[in-house]
Symmetry: C2
Amino acid sequence: IDDRDAARVRELFEDLHPADAADAVEQLVYDQQVELAEIAPEVFGGEMLAELQEDTRADIVNELDPSHLAEAIQDLDSDDMTLVVEDLSPEMREQVLAEVPAADRTRLESSLSFEEDTAGRLMQREFVAAPTFWSVGNTIDHMRKAGEDLPDLFFEVFVVDEGFKPIGSVPVSKLMRFPRDTKLADIMETPHAIIRPDRDQEEVAYLFEKYHLISAPVVDDDGRLSGMLTIDDIVDVIQEENKEDMLALAGVNEASSADTVWSSVKARAPWLLVNLGTAVLASGVIALFEGAIAQLVALAVLMPIVASMGGNAGTQSLAVAVRAIASRDLTVSNAARVIWREFAAGALNGVIFAVVMGAVAGLWFQNVTLAWVIGLAMIINLACAGLAGILIPLGLKRAGADPAVASSVFVTTVTDVVGFFVFLGLGAMVLL
Amino acid sequence: IDDRDAARVRELFEDLHPADAADAVEQLVYDQQVELAEIAPEVFGGEMLAELQEDTRADIVNELDPSHLAEAIQDLDSDDMTLVVEDLSPEMREQVLAEVPAADRTRLESSLSFEEDTAGRLMQREFVAAPTFWSVGNTIDHMRKAGEDLPDLFFEVFVVDEGFKPIGSVPVSKLMRFPRDTKLADIMETPHAIIRPDRDQEEVAYLFEKYHLISAPVVDDDGRLSGMLTIDDIVDVIQEENKEDMLALAGVNEASSADTVWSSVKARAPWLLVNLGTAVLASGVIALFEGAIAQLVALAVLMPIVASMGGNAGTQSLAVAVRAIASRDLTVSNAARVIWREFAAGALNGVIFAVVMGAVAGLWFQNVTLAWVIGLAMIINLACAGLAGILIPLGLKRAGADPAVASSVFVTTVTDVVGFFVFLGLGAMVLL
């Protein structure tokens, strides 16, 4: 690519599976990706664009020629088409929409009318529906006739009533198990989930996971079948949400391997700034006890241990809580018990490490009172850490915020402030 | 349940979907789960046991009666059967195996002969295979005849050669699109992945995700088709691996919402102990500069800020790195560039917060030299944090360990030690 040898690049990409081609592009830095788009736009076929990770795709599609894009997405199912078009800038989007066939344009516009990260954006418009009175034979004949108009891949035939409302589904593998004259009504299963297009994709993913769904019908405001969601798209949603949770817990806004130094700085500086604020706050607590520290430097030597143990115990509780909230294991009905457990587990670990650390500190500084002070501070701080680790994400959730975002900063603020205050305060009271 | 009213409990569970029943059981504490197993074992049907989370299932199956279990798993596909039986204690396992029909026993024993967390454990023995020369019509007729022996749900027919080696697959939805006389050989697709049973489940999940697979053939040592993996089981693997990564990063061994106080303590204390060791090490660094702190208490007030900012920046790099390794975005070919980026991003954030914190410290303590010292320490520590955040998980990965486990403890050790040493060392040199 650096030689701008278009022929060679084309050759390299030619035999790759779209998913492998997408992986290869993701290994490049942003500038190389742009250059590749300039010298060999043919590399960016529709399927490959759909395989790219969201942020890479958002970068690259705006570098491509609108007519190339309009052509590239031609053969995609409508859900993948939406995926490619949704990241375009408004002007680009208009140009691409102007060049696709009218039927595709209508579908795209209707998909794009739903909010980002909802079922409406994810669903595909191609699906197979059959009325209840059809037999297995009718359905198979219909599919043979429909041919090209069917989705590339599907797993269930949705059974609809006269109002085109989905009232059941028949897995394709079941369809083939029964004689041609069996009525669909006799073998259909009640759908576990009928999804509205404005439903958040995270909730949809949860339903798929819980009921082991392979596909699910999406209905419009009148309850009429209007689209279908399939598990392969949901797997991407699950991975995206997991990545978001993990990065959010660590205080990173977004990340991709193509990120430059500058975009990494931008994604991380905001949370470092918040952390700086809370660290200064904790320092303010230390400053309250300057006199005590000047008299007994051992306090300064030991204070980070209390804070660090609290921070660690808090992060443990937090990770468990965020995960339990995400997997719906932590609910209103068991919240009280889990809060109590986190508090008790924190306190109990506090007792264990109070003994260990008390012994270490007592021997190190030959001071029994100091050992009692650090032990007591440890118990109090670890109990608070357990509480903060569960109450903060629950509070964020109740306030309608993402329980992962920023919660670790809040938790360590609590454990730093409590840790320094209790340890130095007790020390100043008892030792001086 | 607390009233031990078996009839009422049975009634409550009767109409629930197995997934909902499993969720309800997971909301109970361990003692209640055991009690439920005693008073109403019928609640624990085969499908419901398969839906339980792994750790809950492991607890509960050993409380059930072996003959009840043997009967409950009767109607399950072989993959779910394995799931239930693998968590049994050795004696229980033997008793259950003795009571299931011989055909099931052979299958179970062969599945259990593979290591945990491999494709061999996950695969199901029921699948549909067809020779290349069959037509679409032959295949459909075969399936109609096979009836009950087919898997509950399947998505592809695997096409095999004379040696029973999988050489292609036809999605069921495609099968129905072609006339009955079409030969399978003409419409089959080359499989994207043929999986060996000893393959780690995490790698298998990656293949499913990358190629958007719905099912995949598993072959034995001779390359003969011996089983099938389906996406619904893979979704569970993905969630399990994500949960493990997130908890490992936070230093928790395992967690479920049914955990008692004591099991939480056991899952967390080991990493807290490691953290205590590293915190004492960091304190040792501080102790080197006791004299300097006694002379200038401002050093003690400010030192946690340098350490905390480093710890945060390191955790950010670490989360990005662990995620990139898990999703195969961080590979040998781009490692050098990503390492450089993390270092540079850390240093650049260091410069930004050196200026901010320098100003704050200078104003607070009316000391320009102190401002320079904390600024310089901040730059060095954040650059080291960036490096540690990427090099430690890469090193663990290369050593064959899980890059998430324990890496945050190592990273914060580096940032604490470097932070205290550089800040106090510079302070002692320049200010006294």
